[in-house]
């Protein structure tokens, strides 16, 4: 299977803090790949690296064989027309209604007539179940609806790659179910490649074709849902089963309690 994105031995630091230490991953074309891991280990950073918003300190990231970190701004913008990102907050433009938000990338990057744009936008909104909400403003949408509207905008230009940043965070069970269904169905129907960054284990195991678990600056486990479930790594099992203590300690590093108290 061809890889749409290849992450080769990247190291990334924020100041003195190492976020990734020589990490490698492959995102297969047409598949849903999940990147999981505890909060704060830099999962969103990985999406920003793939999108070229950040540059690794070393290593390379290839999109369709082209190196993202070494692209100039124009090439990077051309490349981004083939990828899109669903931000955790949705990041809808608050001064536009849902229709205009979805139409935005079409108006920016195509010369389609308004009539054709209207048809495309309504079809995208139909796909996420929000055709009836096209005239609403982002402030009038629930959290789940805002993410679905942002998803319609993300797929407006029919990108090859869609990156989802914590799509299930803070969602009620119904909204979560809708988003899980949408991610899976859109990936299959539009022949997209999806990268889902999340720590919602149950949901992602049902839709991901391949899973990477990141912790401690490296990939601690990867494989299909079945392989991950059967992993003998204590770290992977702690993450999957949500154990409070284990290789990832319950206590943040600190001097001993006696030393602190007395």
């Amino acid at each position: 299977m061809k890889n749409l994105v290849e992450i080769n031995n990247i190291t990334f630091r924020r100041g003195d803090r190492v976020i990734y230490d020589n990490i490698s991953m492959n995102i297969q074309a047409g598949k849903t790949t999940a990147i999981m891991g505890p909060s704060g280990i830099g999962k969103t950073t990985m999406l920003r690296l793939i999108g070229g918003q950040l540059k690794p300190d070393s290593g390379d990231i290839l999109f369709e064989g082209n190196s993202i970190p070494s692209m100039n701004r124009q090439d990077l913008f051309d490349c981004r027309k083939h990828m899109s990102m669903l931000f955790q907050s949705g990041a809808l433009f608050t001064d536009m209604n849902v229709f205009d938000n979805v139409a935005f990338p079409l108006r920016e990057h195509t010369k389609l007539s308004e009539q054709l744009i209207k048809i495309i936008v309504l079809l995208k909104l139909q796909a996420v179940g929000l055709r009836g909400a096209s005239e609403l403003f982002p402030s009038e949408l629930s959290g789940g609806m805002a993410r679905r509207a942002a998803l319609a905008r993300a797929i407006a230009l029919d990108p090859k790659l869609v990156m989802y940043d914590e799509p299930f965070a803070g969602q009620d069970p119904i909204s979560m179910g809708v988003l899980v269904k949408l991610i899976k169905e859109l990936n299959d129907a539009l022949n997209l490649t999806s990268v889902v960054v999340t720590h919602d284990v149950t949901e992602v195991l049902t839709i991901a074709d391949y899973i990477y678990i990141i912790a401690d600056k490296r990939v601690i486990g990867h494989g299909t849902s079945e392989e991950i479930r059967n992993s003998d790594s204590a770290l992977v099992q702690q993450f999957l089963n949500g154990k409070a203590d284990g290789p990832v300690p319950f206590h943040y590093p600190a001097p001993s309690l006696e030393e602190s108290l007395f």
Partner: protein, 259 residues
């Protein structure tokens, strides 16, 4: 040593901030023009920063003109020179008060709003999402606001001065009885279009560039938190006001210092 290290760190931080501000200014000013997209955006922003600032400009201009009329009359009448009220009000407004007070009001009303809006767009990832949609935020967000400020402020300053002159007339002529013919004719004779009106316009163009630049940069560079946006908004008003007052002295010295 800590003291010197802090001074050094502060100098480096300030240089770095100036560098980032210059890059933003350059990127926004030379953004590839796309007339069909850019013009409607600039017009929309002119409505937001210009038209919506009109009320505060009109009311302030009227009252400042009225106060000048009253203060000017009480001094001039002692020397029997109350007919000179017209040029006194007009020259003060066109040369100084119009551009300066408009810039200060613009910084407080439109500048703070620009900073807060852009800062919130950053905090809610709207600027990042533009980047990811291959749309340059400097072209789409910063440039229209910068140009709208540059176009709007000189117009607002002229309106401010015109309303102020009418305010002076209201108090000086209609209330205190200065001769209307003297008010207008001496003003017409004393005010030179190039020296007074155009120099005022040049001042307000310079203030427009500086105030709008400070406002959009503080928003773009704000920490994407509620505290960061609050700090950036305050910084806009303080920095822009100080810059306007400082630059006013420099420009006044250059324009009128050798007369």
């Amino acid at each position: 040593m800590d003291f010197f290290a802090r001074i050094g760190r502060s100098i480096i931080d300030n240089c770095s901030t100036m560098g980032r501000a210059s890059i933003l200014f350059w990127g926004a000013m030379v953004a590839k023009p796309q007339p069909t997209k850019s013009i409607p955006l600039v017009i929309k922003q002119m409505y937001v920063v210009g038209v919506q600032s009109l009320l505060i400009i009109l009311v302030s201009g009227l009252f400042i003109g009225m106060v000048m009329g009253l203060q000017g009359y009480t001094v001039l009448v002692n020397y029997g020179a109350e007919e000179s009220l017209g040029p006194m009000v007009a020259l003060s407004l066109l040369r100084e008060l119009g551009p300066v007070v408009t810039a200060l009001l613009f910084a407080g009303r439109a500048g703070s709003a620009l900073t807060a809006e852009i800062g919130l767009m950053k905090a809610t990832e709207q600027l990042s999402s533009l980047e990811m949609m291959a749309v340059d935020p400097l072209r789409r967000v910063i440039s229209p606001r910068l140009w709208a400020g540059i176009f709007s402020m000189p117009l607002l300053a002229l309106i401010f001065s015109a309303v102020g002159i009418l305010g002076g007339h209201l108090v000086g002529v209609d209330w205190l009885g200065v001769d209307a013919g003297s008010y207008w004719s001496i003003m017409q004779a004393a005010v030179d279009f190039n020296d007074d009106v155009m120099n005022g316009v040049i001042k307000s163009i310079v203030f427009a560039v500086v105030v709008t630049w400070i406002a959009v940069f503080n928003g773009y560079d704000a920490m994407p938190t509620s505290e960061g946006i609050s700090k950036a908004t305050t910084q806009t008003v303080v920095h822009a006001s100080l810059a306007v007052l400082g630059l006013d002295f420099v420009l006044t010295a250059l324009m009128f210092g050798t007369e």
